[in-house]
Every structure is written in structure tokens, then in C-alpha cells.
Symmetry: C2
Subunit: 154 residues, 2 copies
DNA sequence: TCCATATCGATGCACTTGCATTTAACCACC
DNA sequence: GGTGGTTAAATGCAAGTGCATCGATATGGA
């Protein structure tokens, strides 16, 4: 049951978008602050390490990782540089494609992801979870799921 | 009816937060892309101009604007520099406080904000509004409102 | 009054991001 | 098997951001 194809958003949609942006910004800033004060790297590192850990020993091609993380290619290339410098990932030549690489997480990388989760998880709970009933959280989850699926067509 | 004060977030909360971040990122990137391809400035300029327009001829102190926009002070100082260079705002000495300034939007600034809205509004509709029923939009709005109010205590 | 402390805003520096370009390898077609 | 167009990844450069600091003014207490 989508809205009519009007050109201009309703005031509810405008406010929903404004609050979406605001809530994300508040939460992200608070989470980043906690990570930093725990001496841990930024959120972007966590996202990358998590994807790579999920990918397992087979690793991921940079462009696959970029698609998951919504990161621009040049930006991702340098994020991998930094992760590699800290020995959290390894760049390996790709068998199937001479141009490409495969990025694989290291033991140290898994350790760092786990340590970050020790701060990140509780931060999510205290910043997001603690202010919502479980019905609200479920509803938020569902609606955002719809929104994201809809945006795939962009 | 808030959740219990557990340290670890439920999987629903984790997914809700992940999707919140993702949805915001997708939408913001898409909006920025449209603004740029219309030859218009970035979203941050819109937010600043809108706040200043709402403040009217009395303007706003930089630190007030920073509070509204969740911008760091140094960052804001330079955003104002850029807005001032384009003659969209004026810096005026503050009567009440010799350290401070008052930032006031110009006629050109109001014009730019209006032109940006011509792209931004439809973008919100096609990226956010078009994928949600009005009930979903209202629910999203309400839950995010709760979340933001809760975060005031951070 | 005078001084210590706090707040407002700007700035130097390092780091990150985006854009455009470059290099290398792949692939489809002739 | 060449050749043209496409895709993967890196890089130079400009712009934006965060951090720490600084100068200037305000404020509260001795």
C-alpha cells in the first residue's frame, strides 16, 4: 500500500526522514565517541571486519565489500590499506582474476572485531535499545526493512 | 514500556540499529547525488540555511546553530565561512556578548534554500515516501521521535 | 577591584573523503 | 589472435572533518 506518486512529500514523510537522519546521527556520534574513548577504531572498521569475518577464509573481493558497506571504491581501497597496516586483514592475489584481490581477515582482525563488539553492543543497547519497547523495536526494524528493500531499485 | 536494563542488545534491536544506519546512508547518498547533479550545495548547507531562515532576522549564534545541527564547533565555523563567502549568510557582531557573533541569512540564502528544496523535497518523496504507506511513515515518525527524545539524556 | 575559571569562536595540523585519472587485466567480437 | 570497450583497484589532488589549541571576552568569588 504505497503512497500516491506525488512529487512532494507529505509532512509526515518529511518529519520521518528528518528524524531518521537525526536519530542516526545522534546514535552514530555517541557510538563513535565510546569507541574512541575505549581506544578502539571507528565504526567503519567494525563493519568491514564483520563482513570479512562472515565471509570466512574465502574472503571477499574489494568491490563486493564496497557493495556491502556502501563505500566508494577509492575510499574503500584506503580503508583496506589501513586495516592491512594494522594486520587485521591480508590482501591476496585473486586466482580467477588477475586484476583483482581477495581480502581475508586475520586472527588479529577477528580479535579486534570481538573487542570492538564489547563496546559497540552495549552502546547499541544503551543508545537505541534502552529507549524502545520490544514492540517499538520490532516495528522500527520492519518499517526500515521495507524502506531498504524499496531503495534497492535506486 | 522500555526494555529491561540489560547490557546486551536483543537481535531485534541490533537489526533495527543496523537498518537505521543503512537506510539513512542509502537515502542520504541518493539525496546528495541528486543535489550535486543539479549543481547545488550539499545537504549540510540546506540544514543550516533552514535553521537560519526559521530564526528570522534575529539570526542565531553559531553555538546555537551547532546545537541544532549536531555539528562540532570547529566544523561549523568553517561551514559558516563557506556560506558567508557565497553571500548566503552574514556574520554580525553580537550586541550582548563581545566574544560572539550572530549569523543571519541573506536574501540570496533564502533563495538558495528554496532552490535546494525544489530538488530535496521530491528526492525525499521518491526515496523515502514512495516506499512507505502513510501508516508506515507515521509509525516510523513516532518511533524515531521516541528514540530521539530518549537520547536527549545522553 | 582583581584574578581564576569558563565560554565563544578561529585556526594549524593531521587524517579522511570524494573526484578524476591511471594502470592493468578481462572479455566479446571480428 | 588481435582490438575496443569494460571492469578492478590504486593514486594525485582538492575539499571536508576532528582534535587540540589559542586569543578574546565574560563571569563569579575573594
Amino acid at each position: 500500500m504505497q503512497q500516491a506518486m506525488t512529487r512532494h512529500p507529505s509532512s509526515t514523510v518529511i518529519r520521518a526522514w528528518t528524524r531518521l537522519a537525526r536519530a542516526q546521527q545522534i546514535a552514530a556520534q555517541a557510538i563513535e565517541r565510546r569507541l574512541k574513548s575505549a581506544g578502539l577504531p571507528a565504526l567503519a572498521w567494525y563493519d568491514a571486519l564483520l563482513e570479512l569475518e562472515r565471509a570466512g577464509p574465502a574472503g571477499l573481493r574489494p568491490f563486493e565489500l564496497g557493495r556491502e558497506l556502501l563505500l566508494s571504491q577509492c575510499n574503500l581501497s584506503r580503508l583496506i590499506d589501513r586495516l592491512e597496516q594494522e594486520k587485521y586483514v591480508e590482501r591476496r592475489a585473486c586466482q580467477d582474476d588477475g586484476r583483482g584481490q581477495v581480502i581475508v581477515i586475520t586472527r588479529a582482525g577477528r580479535g579486534m572485531r570481538r573487542r570492538m563488539w564489547g563496546v559497540y553492543g552495549p552502546a547499541i543497547q544503551s543508545i537505541v535499545g534502552a529507549h524502545l519497547s520490544s514492540a517499538q523495536a520490532a516495528s522500527l526494524d520492519t518499517v526500515l526493512g521495507t524502506l531498504i528493500s524499496g531503495s534497492r531499485s535506486l
